[in-house]
């Protein structure tokens, strides 16, 4: 479980996050949704510690991460896996080396053990026989899979995904979304997914936080999301014709 309390962040006097609080539950795929530019990625970066909030606290299972000393920070970081928007695979390393990398730097396990674990994770995300490929040889969907394998390889307790299906076709998107959801259930981890994609929301949104211009405007799940009278949320949900048709029918 991750708790965030009153997270505020400005860049060059421009306020991006204006006090966001909430809880991300264990064993669930927690979504952060909102239009582009509302600060979803910035919030995620605050949570994983890539950016330090100006005000506010992030707690991982009741451990204060924001004000932690170096040892505790390192301890928590070892439990974090993150899938980045473009995959962020190291382009000078093969698929196998990419997936093994967190084990190389975070553990002292022997090589064959690390290799076994990397292969297990690659298999789990549906990638076999790609071990020696370079990231530039992979399709967008495959990159995301490798990114997921790398994020879970060190038995992460917390999985973060920034726009896991951006740049993917609708079918691959749903495969990736479901893979994330399955892994979350299977390993009973806390997963936080940032997305602006209504398909993902309907597919895997069991706990959703809606951001608008740096504020949290709404919280709920995918069965409630179409039933609110919050204008900003309705504009977001019904931006697409299919959703409008569903509502009107």
């Amino acid at each position: 479980m991750i708790e965030i309390e009153n997270i505020q962040k400005s860049f060059d006097d421009k306020s991006i996050l204006k006090g966001i609080s909430g809880v991300f539950e264990k064993g669930k795929t927690n979504l952060i949704i909102g239009a582009s530019g509302t600060g979803k990625s910035v919030l995620l970066k605050n949570i994983v510690g890539l950016v330090k909030p100006d005000v506010g606290v992030v707690k991982y299972s009741n451990r204060d991460f924001t004000n932690a000393n170096r040892d505790l920070k390192t301890e928590i970081r070892r439990e974090i896996g993150m899938l980045f928007q473009g995959g962020a695979l190291f382009d000078s390393k093969t698929v196998e080396q990419n997936v093994m990398f967190p084990l190389d730097v975070l553990t002292t396990a022997p090589v064959d053990e690390k290799l076994d674990r990397a292969n297990f994770c690659l298999k789990r995300v549906g990638l076999e026989n790609t071990n020696n490929k370079m990231p530039s040889e992979l399709s967008g969907g495959m990159k995301k899979r490798v990114g997921i394998a790398r994020a879970i390889v060190n038995n992460s307790q917390y999985l973060f995904c920034d726009e896991p299906n951006s740049g993917l076709d609708p079918q691959t998107s749903i495969l990736i979304d479901n893979l994330i959801k399955e892994i979350t259930l299977e390993y009973n981890i806390t997963t936080v997914v940032v997305t602006h994609d209504m398909n993902s929301v309907m597919e895997i949104g069991e706990k959703i936080m809606f951001l608008f211009e740096g504020h949290k405007l709404w919280e709920g799940n995918n069965s409630d999301i179409a039933k609110t009278d919050i204008k900003e949320l309705n504009d977001f949900v019904f931006a697409n014709r299919m959703m409008r048709n569903l509502r009107d029918s």
């Binding site: 510690g49 390192t74 070892r78 473009g86 962020a88």
Partner: protein, 247 residues
């Protein structure tokens, strides 16, 4: 403008400091540094060799062309070529080539890693990305660049020798005599001190430019170009400063 310069300079020093905090194990760095050394060698050896050989050849030709007086013995030509090569041409001109080849590649590499979030990925894993990525590049440069300068010096003199002897400008004996005459061993030391300083400046400035790239592919290109320009200016400035201090 001045404020921006001071701001950048301060940020650069903080960046340099971050290379030495919270590091990985020695073994990790050792392997990364060897990889960088190989990369630098492969990247620059051909161009450096070609430039150095021609540099020596042309300097010999032009010196011979300018020293037509019958009172000046032939060996003075190779003496002049030797002093120019060791003191200035090999360490400084090759530094400009090095900035263009290795500096731009460092900035491009780090810039790409920044905009594709590879640097963020390292940071999330708790790795000090600046130290992990940059320290091996700086150390490898400091190890490799003096070697390149030595090779360049030897090739430059070889180029001079070939032109001098093949075009019958002077006899082989005269050339060798001129190379040895009044040789001050400190000039080699001075060249190596300069090499280390230039290697540090080029690799660290290029890393700094690449590491703080913001935006997209266009900005990576701009960072590469800026890395070259800024490091060349820093090298020339340091060249002047070192000459003032040490000669």
């Amino acid at each position: 403008m001045q404020l921006a310069f001071i701001h950048n300079l301060g940020k650069y020093f903080v960046f340099m400091g971050s290379l030495f905090t919270n590091r990985e194990s020695f073994k990790t760095y050792f392997k990364l540094t060897i990889d960088e050394c190989v990369l630098i060698g492969v990247n620059s050896i051909v161009l450096v060799s070609i430039v150095a050989t021609f540099m020596g050849a042309v300097t010999t030709l032009q010196t011979a062309y300018n020293l037509v007086s019958p009172f000046i013995p032939d060996y003075v030509i190779s003496l002049v070529v030797r002093d120019m090569t060791v003191l200035e041409l090999a360490p400084t001109i090759i530094a400009v080539i090095y900035a263009g080849k290795v500096g731009s590649s460092i900035a491009g590499n780090l810039g790409t890693m920044r905009i594709t979030e590879q640097i963020d990925a390292l940071e999330v894993m708790g790795i000090n990305s600046s130290s992990y990525l940059v320290l091996p590049k700086v150390v490898a440069s400091i190890l490799m660049y003096p070697l390149l300068v030595i090779i360049a010096g030897i090739l430059s003199l070889t180029g001079g020798y070939l032109v001098g002897v093949l075009l019958n400008i002077m006899s082989p004996q005269d050339f060798i005599f001129g190379i040895r005459d009044g040789f001050n061993p400190f000039s080699i030391q001075f060249a190596l001190i300069k090499s280390v300083a230039f290697a540090f400046l080029i690799s660290s400035i290029s890393s700094y430019k690449g590491y703080y790239t913001q935006g997209g592919a266009l900005e990576v290109g701009i960072a590469s170009t800026q890395a070259v320009t800024t490091s060349v200016i820093a090298v020339l400035f340091a060249d002047y400063l070192l000459a003032q201090l040490l000669l």
